[in-house]
Symmetry: C2
Subunit: 228 residues, 2 copies
């Protein structure tokens, strides 16, 4: 694909998946506008990581939007609920799920894409090695694309909008190998749900464990900086 | 319909339409949780009006979520673009359109509904006497309902979510008559895009003119407090 001069909004959390997604969008030739959401998450250092990663990977511009989801509550990532250790055998959606987070983030990206006259949004969801969040599944992305076709002034005027999910069918190991081939420095990314102020990871939560297993499966050393 | 004890999230802007929508939801027996969005709008007094209306009409609880859409810009309601006088003959979508606003607001309502285990969202969109915004049309609401069926943990677990749009086929005059029959005091509502700090309306913008014409068509005195 040659997307030279095409603009794309890239959702960037500061984690491993979204950093890889940005690297892919840049490599495809998109002029990338990265967007991070400050939703009151415990792991504040991921926002600093997002700003840094945007610059390192050659995005055109980075913006951080503040939306305090603590007002509505309901997640271990925002409310006063403890982040649990990983339980990879559970079939339940964990308490780290943030209600409607990807709907909210994609809606913001949709509005920003319209302001920029951008025809593409990139989001680093994956439905392989993940926590079972409903808004990471292909059927969710398809439904959002359908919404986008009727939601905006740009759409009414004929502007198409594509939601790109380059990771959706990749394992964590495949994501890591692809990112490394594109020069992503994973030491700069923060996946941990309870990273400390210095960006050091706990090594115990679901997100940390999935990431660790990914580096092992990829046969790569884990560059993550841990608290212990 | 008897919705006794059923919870509903009601999007409340402080304007005429959303106040009427709340009155309808209360009358249908829903336990109403009103949600206002502080998106950096010029017309700050509508947020005060929303809080007041929620109490007057008997909502169970009111929350105001802050999301600064000025970060992404693109609207006369948030950015430094002048609000134009009404041009009711124009076929264009006006500059007061806020990119993806209803997608964002419904996504927030969806998250809040999930936290509350509520099966209903009410939004006061109307596709009759309106400004031509794409995200007020029935096809947009239908697409959002389809998204909601795959977007949340609640949906995966079988909780249905309905988006109620009781005004969508009503003229402004019909909305006013219905609201008056339910005891809505429209003097408390603010529709103006550039209401002053005291809540006084300009009388010139698109929203003011549509509202004025509604009171005339309904054969009712206009209780709106104007600046001049």
């Amino acid at each position: 694909m040659n997307a030279a001069n095409d603009k794309a909004v890239v959702l960037l959390s500061g984690g491993l998946d979204s950093a890889t997604t940005l690297a892919i969008a840049v490599q495809q030739g998109f002029q990338c506008y990265t967007l991070a959401l400050d939703y009151g998450q415990r792991h504040r250092s991921e926002l600093t990581a997002a700003t840094q990663i945007s610059r390192l990977l050659g995005a055109f511009e980075h913006k951080q939007v503040k939306l305090d989801l603590r007002t509505i509550g309901g997640s271990a990532l925002t409310a006063e609920i403890d982040v649990p250790d990983a339980d990879r055998d559970s079939q339940d959606i964990p308490v780290t799920y943030v209600p409607a987070r990807n709907s909210i983030m994609l809606s913001l990206a949709l509005g920003y894409a319209e302001v920029l006259s951008a025809g593409s949004i990139f989001i680093g969801v994956t439905a392989v090695d993940y926590s079972g969040y409903p808004d990471c599944r292909p059927e969710f992305i398809t439904a959002f694309e359908a919404l986008a076709q009727v939601a905006t002034k740009a759409a009414v005027q004929g502007q198409q909008l594509a939601v790109h999910t380059p990771l959706i069918n990749l394992s964590k190991a495949e994501i890591i190998l692809q990112g490394m081939s594109l020069g992503v420095d994973y030491a700069e990314t923060i996946s941990c749900y309870q990273a400390d102020a210095n960006g050091l990871a706990c090594g115990q939560c679901d997100s940390c464990v999935i990431r660790q297993q990914g580096f092992v499966a990829a046969g790569q050393g884990d560059p993550t900086r841990y608290q212990i």
